[in-house]
Amino acid sequence: MGIVQILFWFLTALALVSALMVLLSKNPVFSVLWLIAVFFAISGHYILLNAQFLAIVNMIVYAGAIMVLFLFVIMLMNLNKETEPQKNIWMKIAGAVSGGCLLMVLISLVKQANEMTGKTALMKDGNIGLIGNLGKALFSDFVVPFEISSVLFLSAMVGAVVIGKK
């Protein structure tokens, strides 16, 4: 087991445990922090896949900006364990069971998909994850979506301000 494998399994375990803890934490602030841990784990996976740019963008955008917003909101609303609304236990069980069924069905689906067997993801080689290549592709082939997404951002910003000002 090389260092890549070790890191892979470590990050996978971290991601899954943290993701579960997002659900299981009673306190929303802990949920946010666990979710940040998930994002870190996923960023780690990106680094393993040599998608450096995405790794760091994931960190800046998700962990650095989006989750800060979540924290802001939660802290300003003063949400904590006591005020956390809880679902009735049967609903929780139903949700968990149906989710588990979905996972099982999906996994069986993937297991029997012949296209996916024997394929591997290239780990640390390959330069497509580097910022130079991504930038070239982004500003040549994907420049229109890029501009449109900037417009989307602007409108989202305006929307957020308008909603928030009411």
Partner: protein, 351 residues
């Protein structure tokens, strides 16, 4: 990422490097606290601390000792885990930044060529931003976990300040990155060292100014020290902290200052480049070249730290609305304008 290859010598080398850099950072931060007091005294026509050791040089140790031996108080209603996590996060985030800074040229040692940089990654400066954005969590978590309204307010104040100024900071750097065409800090330094190239400050004075101001805000230095305004705003996010946890917060701030000075020196002032000295022509100096480089970098850093302090002891703090106005209405448009102008000039020169 060479880090992941199972090259044990490399691993040891990097570990040693990490240890050295971390301890150096801590030491420098330690003495920055001392310098702060000394500079304040000098600017105010006072001698400053001079009791512990000659010229008070042992003062930081005494301070540290005092912080460590003080009683640790964790408020009853505080969230214990997060209360401890907060300063730890702040410290970690502060220290993690040094990973991508090139401290000097390569040194030849034990038959290996060792780069004085923990990791020369493709996305160097982005990494710095990523880590800096993590720094917000230390403040927020600490402020929230204290379970104190004033701490929470200060934490939110600090977080929104950090986020606001991070934007302008990034934008101001984009203009510079257009010039360099690379995100790797080492590449940026090497470009500045080349013949016929001036330091980037010559090309990007406005960008540097914006970056400098934003760095000051990121470090919560006066005039942007709203998050920790002691008497005026009922202390800051660390109001409930005492002892070493408070020390961590204060320390992380000084480390931040040190690191941001380093980044500024690297990005705009040639890093370990010695002015008017052609390194390439003096290859015979061997490892001493690296030492000269490190000294040069540290010298620049010290000047920056001094400027930080100088400003702190000159300027009163902004009001919060002024701070936000400055960030959003002045800095960001300026940075954008700088970006557009730089882009236009680059295009014009390239035809």
């Amino acid at each position: 990422m060479t880090l992941l290859a199972l090259d044990w010598f490399l691993l040891i080398e990097k570990l040693v490097l990490i240890a050295v850099i971390i301890f150096a950072s801590l030491g420098i931060a330690l003495y920055t606290t001392f310098a702060e007091r000394k500079v304040a005294a000098i600017l105010q026509d006072r001698p400053g601390p001079n009791r512990a050791g000659s010229f008070g040089l042992l003062q930081p140790l005494a301070d540290g000792l005092k912080l460590i031996t003080k009683e640790e108080i964790i408020p009853n209603s505080a969230n214990k885990a997060l209360f401890i996590l907060g300063p730890g996060l702040a410290m970690t985030a502060a220290l993690m930044t040094c990973a991508v800074v090139p401290w000097g040229n390569k040194v030849e040692m034990f038959g290996r060529s060792i780069a004085l940089q923990i990791a020369d990654i493709n996305i160097g400066i982005l990494y710095v931003f990523g880590v800096v954005s993590m720094g917000v969590y230390g403040v927020m978590i600490g402020g929230w976990a204290s379970n104190n309204k004033f701490s929470l307010m200060a934490a939110l104040r600090g977080a929104s300040q950090a986020i606001s100024y991070e934007l302008a900071m990034g934008l101001s750097l984009i203009a510079l990155l257009m010039l360099t065409g690379s995100l790797s800090l080492r590449k940026i330094v090497e470009q500045q060292m080349m013949d016929g190239h001036f330091w980037n400050i010559a090309y990007q004075p406005l960008g540097f100014l914006i970056f400098f101001i934003c760095a000051m805000a990121e470090c919560n230095r006066t005039p942007f020290d709203l998050p920790e305004a002691e008497n005026e705003l009922n202390f800051g996010y660390h109001q409930e902290y005492s002892s070493m946890k408070l020390g961590f917060y204060l320390f992380s701030e000084y480390i931040n200052m040190f690191i941001s000075s380093t980044i500024m020196a690297t990005m705009f002032f040639g890093g370990y480049d010695v002015p008017f000295f052609n390194e390439a022509a003096h290859a015979d100096l061997g490892n001493w070249l690296a030492v000269i480089g490190i000294v040069s970098l540290l010298f620049k850093v010290i000047i920056f730290i001094f400027v930080f302090m100088w400003i702190r002891w000159t300027i009163p703090r902004f009001r919060y609305d002024q701070l936000m106005n400055l960030g959003w209405k002045k800095m960001i448009p300026l940075a954008l304008a700088n970006m557009v102008i730089t882009g236009a000039v680059i295009l014009w020169l390239q035809k």
